[in-house]
C-alpha cells in the first residue's frame, strides 16, 4: 500500500521555485531516504507532506487522504531540532506529546529523571523518536534522525527505525549524510528542487566518476585543478576532481610539471550531490 504519494508537486516562494514538479512514493514497510544538499528542497517537501505548507500545485496524499488534522494522529514526525521541551523530563515530554496525539504515554526508552536538555544528544534523539512513535503512527517522517550522535547511538536508533518499518510503518528519512542514506531501502535524490535520481546509492551514483590525484606537492596540484572547471574536493591529501576527464587532468598536471598518481574512481553520494548542484 502506498502511504505517501506525491505527484507533480510544485512549491514557489515568490519567483523562487523551492520544489519543482516532484514525484515521490513511500510504501508501507519501506524506508525511503530523501537525500540532497542543503537547499535542495527536502525540508519544503517534508513540510508539505506534513501539511505545514500548501503546495502551489500538484497532489499530495498521505494514507490515501489529504493531510488533515485527523490524519495527523496516524503520522509521526521527528524534526531535526527534535521538538522536545528541554526543560521537561523524559517522562513529562512523553506524557505531553502522548496527550497531544490523544493517546497514553509510552514507557520511557531508558530510566532517567533528568531534564531532556541535560541529556546527551544521542539520548535526546531516542526520546524524540519515542515521543513521535508512541501513538503508533503508520507514517514516520524523520529529518536527519541520527545527525550528531555517536556510531553506537546511531546503530541503536536505526535499529528502532528498522523495527518500525518491519512492523509495516512507511518511513521517510530526509538526510544529507551518506551513512544515513545507506540505511534506506530506496533513495530519492533532490537537487535544486527537482528529483535528480532514484534507487539505491549505486543506481543514483550510476556512472558518475571522480578523478583521484595523489601528489607530493598536493597543495600546488589542488590550486591548479581547483581553477580548471570541474568541482574539486580534498579527502586527506588526496584531491578528487569530480566528473573530470582522466586524460585532461593528467595533461594539466604534466604541463605544470607536477608529479602525481592519477586514477578514476566512482563518485561518492556526497560528490554526486555536489556535481548535480554545480
Amino acid at each position: 500500500m502506498t502511504a505517501i504519494d506525491v505527484q507533480g508537486v510544485i512549491r514557489r516562494f515568490g519567483s523562487f521555485t523551492a520544489v519543482d514538479d516532484v514525484d515521490l512514493t513511500v510504501a508501507a514497510g519501506e524506508v525511503v531516504g530523501l537525500v540532497g544538499a542543503n537547499g535542495a528542497g527536502k525540508t519544503t517537501l517534508i513540510r508539505m507532506i506534513l501539511g505545514l505548507l500548501q503546495p502551489t500545485s500538484g497532489l499530495i496524499r498521505v494514507l490515501a487522504g489529504t493531510p488533515s488534522r485527523e490524519l495527523r494522529r496516524r503520522v509521526g514526525y521527528v524534526p531535526q531540532n527534535l521538538g522536545l521541551y528541554r526543560d521537561l523530563t523524559v517522562a513529562e515530554n512523553l506524557e505531553f506529546w502522548a496527550e497531544a496525539f490523544g493517546g497514553s504515554p509510552a514507557a520511557p526508552p531508558f530510566d532517567n529523571d533528568d531534564l531532556v536538555g541535560d541529556l546527551p544528544l544521542g539520548l535526546q534523539r531516542r526520546v524524540a523518536f519515542a515521543a513521535a512513535t508512541q501513538h503508533g503512527p503508520e507514517v514516520l517522517v524523520l529529518d536527519e534522525p541520527t545527525s550528531g550522535v555517536s556510531p553506537l547511538a546511531r546503530s541503536r536508533l536505526w535499529n528502532l527505525i528498522r523495527a518500525r518499518a518491519e512492523a509495516g510503518v512507511a518511513v521517510l528519512v530526509s538526510t544529507h549524510y551518506m551513512d544515513e542514506a545507506e540505511q534506506a531501502d530506496r533513495l530519492v535524490l533532490m537537487s535544486r528542487g527537482r528529483v535528480a535520481g532514484t534507487g539505491t546509492i549505486t543506481d543514483i551514483i550510476a556512472d558518475l566518476r571522480a578523478v583521484e590525484v595523489t601528489a607530493p606537492r598536493w597543495q600546488e596540484a589542488f590550486d591548479l585543478l581547483d581553477g580548471s572547471g570541474p568541482p574539486v574536493t580534498l579527502a586527506g591529501r588526496s584531491i578528487r576532481v569530480l566528473g573530470a576527464d582522466l586524460r585532461a587532468v593528467r595533461s594539466a598536471l604534466a604541463r605544470a610539471e607536477l608529479r602525481a598518481e592519477v586514477r578514476e574512481v566512482p563518485a561518492t553520494l556526497d560528490e554526486t550531490m555536489v556535481l548535480l548542484d554545480s
Binding site: G51, L59, P67, P79, L82
Partner: protein, 341 residues
C-alpha cells in the same frame, strides 16, 4: 583588544534592534523627560458651585481653570464631581462655603494648595479620598497595572519565544491539537498567574500600605480581566515578531517604558506637553491607572468608569485579537491542495 572592539561595533551595527534600543531609547527618554516629566501643574480643572459661583469663578486666577459653573450646584454634587474625576478642585459657595481638593491627584492637589492665594480667602478646604496626600495610596493601585503589564508582556512573550526556539511550535502544528487548543493552553497559565499576582498585590497594598479599597469589587475584577487580555495580547504579539528571547526583552522594554512614563502613573497627564500627552492616551496603562485610582480611592461611579472601560475593551479586542491571529498563523498548518495544476 582592538579586534574585539571592532568586532563588537560590527555586530552592534548589524543588530538593528540593539541600534534602535541604543539610539531610540535615549531619544525617547529625552523627549519624555523633557516634555512629560513635570511635576508642576499648568492647569487645575475646577468646578464652582453654589449661589455665588459666578462671582467666585471670576475671581479665580492662575492655574485654576473653570470646567463647570453651576449656581444651583450643591455640596454633594461637588464631592461627586471629584469622585468621578470631572474636576480636581471643587469650590462650593453659599451658606457653608468650602473648597474640596481631590487627594488622588497628588501633584494637582499639592499645586492647588500651594496656590491658595488665587482662591477666595477664608474658605475652609478639605482634601478628599487621600487626606494625607499619601503617595503609596496613589501609587499602589497604579503599580498593579505596571506589574500586570510586566508579567503580561515580558513573561508571556518569553514563554512563547522559548517554544519557538526549541522548535516545539512546529511540532505542535503537526499534532491533532486545534490551534485554539494550543493558544488557549499556552496563554491560560500566564493568565492565571497574572490574576493571582493581581490579588496578591492588591491585598499587600491594602494590608501593608493601608491603601483604602472603597469601590466596587466587581468593577475591579472586570477591569483586571479586560486589562489582562490587553497585556497578554502585547506579550503574544511581541513573541510573534521576535526570533529570540533577547529580542523579545528588547521589544518588551520598548512597550513598558513609555507606559511607565506617559500613563499618568508617575507624572500627571495634565502637566505633560500636548505633543507627548496624546501618546499617553494611546496606552492601556493610562486607562487602567485612572480606573484603579477611581475604584480604590474614590469609589467612582460606573458612569465615570465607563469611558476607560470602553477604551480598554476596544484595546483588548484589537491587541489580543491581532496577537491570536498572528499566533494562529504559526500553529495552524495549511491544508494541502488536492487539485493538480
Amino acid at each position: 583588544m582592538k579586534a574585539m572592539i571592532l568586532k563588537e561595533f560590527r555586530q552592534m551595527r548589524r543588530d538593528r534592534r540593539t541600534v534602535a534600543l541604543m539610539v531610540g531609547l535615549p531619544l525617547m527618554m529625552l523627549i519624555i523627560f523633557g516634555y512629560a516629566a513635570r511635576f508642576d501643574v499648568a492647569t487645575i480643572e475646577t468646578a464652582v458651585l453654589g449661589p455665588d459661583a459666578e462671582v467666585v469663578a471670576s475671581q479665580l486666577g492662575g492655574a485654576f481653570t473653570v470646567v463647570k459653573l453651576d449656581p444651583a450646584g450643591t455640596d454633594d454634587e461637588a464631592r461627586a464631581m471629584l469622585a468621578d474625576s470631572e474636576a480636581a478642585v471643587a469650590i462650593v459657595t453659599g451658606a457653608a462655603p468650602k473648597i474640596y481638593v481631590d487627594g488622588t491627584e497628588l501633584f494637582v492637589a499639592q499645586s492647588a494648595l500651594r496656590r491658595g492665594e488665587s482662591l477666595p480667602a477664608g474658605l475652609e478646604s478639605e482634601i478628599l479620598f487621600n487626606p494625607d496626600l499619601n503617595t503609596a495610596a496613589v501609587m499602589v493601585p497604579s503599580l498593579i497595572g505596571l506589574i500586570l503589564l510586566f508579567i503580561g508582556t515580558v513573561i508571556t512573550s518569553l514563554g512563547v519565544v522559548r517554544e519557538r526556539e526549541q522548535g516545539t511550535l512546529e511540532q505542535l502544528a503537526v499534532t491533532p491539537l486545534k490551534p485554539v487548543d494550543v493558544i488557549v493552553g499556552k496563554i491560560s497559565p500566564y493568565f492565571v498567574v497574572a490574576l493571582v499576582d493581581m490579588v496578591i498585590i492588591t491585598l499587600a497594598g491594602i494590608v501593608i500600605f493601608d491603601v483604602p479599597f472603597r469601590g466596587s469589587l466587581f468593577l475591579f475584577a472586570v477591569f483586571g480581566l479586560i486589562y489582562l487580555f490587553v497585556v497578554l495580547g502585547f506579550g503574544v504579539l511581541i513573541s510573534t515578531v521576535s526570533r529570540s528571547q533577547g529580542e523579545a526583552i528588547q521589544l518588551a522594554i520598548m512597550v513598558l517604558l513609555p507606559q511607565v512614563m506617559l500613563s499618568g502613573m508617575i507624572f500627571p497627564l495634565e502637566s505633560m506637553a500636548a505633543g507627548v500627552r496624546w501618546i499617553g492616551y494611546l496606552l492601556p496603562l493610562t486607562y487602567f491607572v485612572q480606573a484603579m485610582r477611581g475604584i480604590f480611592l474614590k469609589a467612582s461611579s460606573f458612569g465615570a468608569l465607563l469611558p476607560p472601560l470602553v477604551v480598554l475593551a476596544l484595546m483588548a479586542v484589537a491587541v489580543f485579537g491581532l496577537a491570536v491571529w498572528r499566533f494562529r498563523q504559526e500553529v495552524a498548518p495549511k491544508t494541502a491542495k488536492v487539485a493538480t495544476s
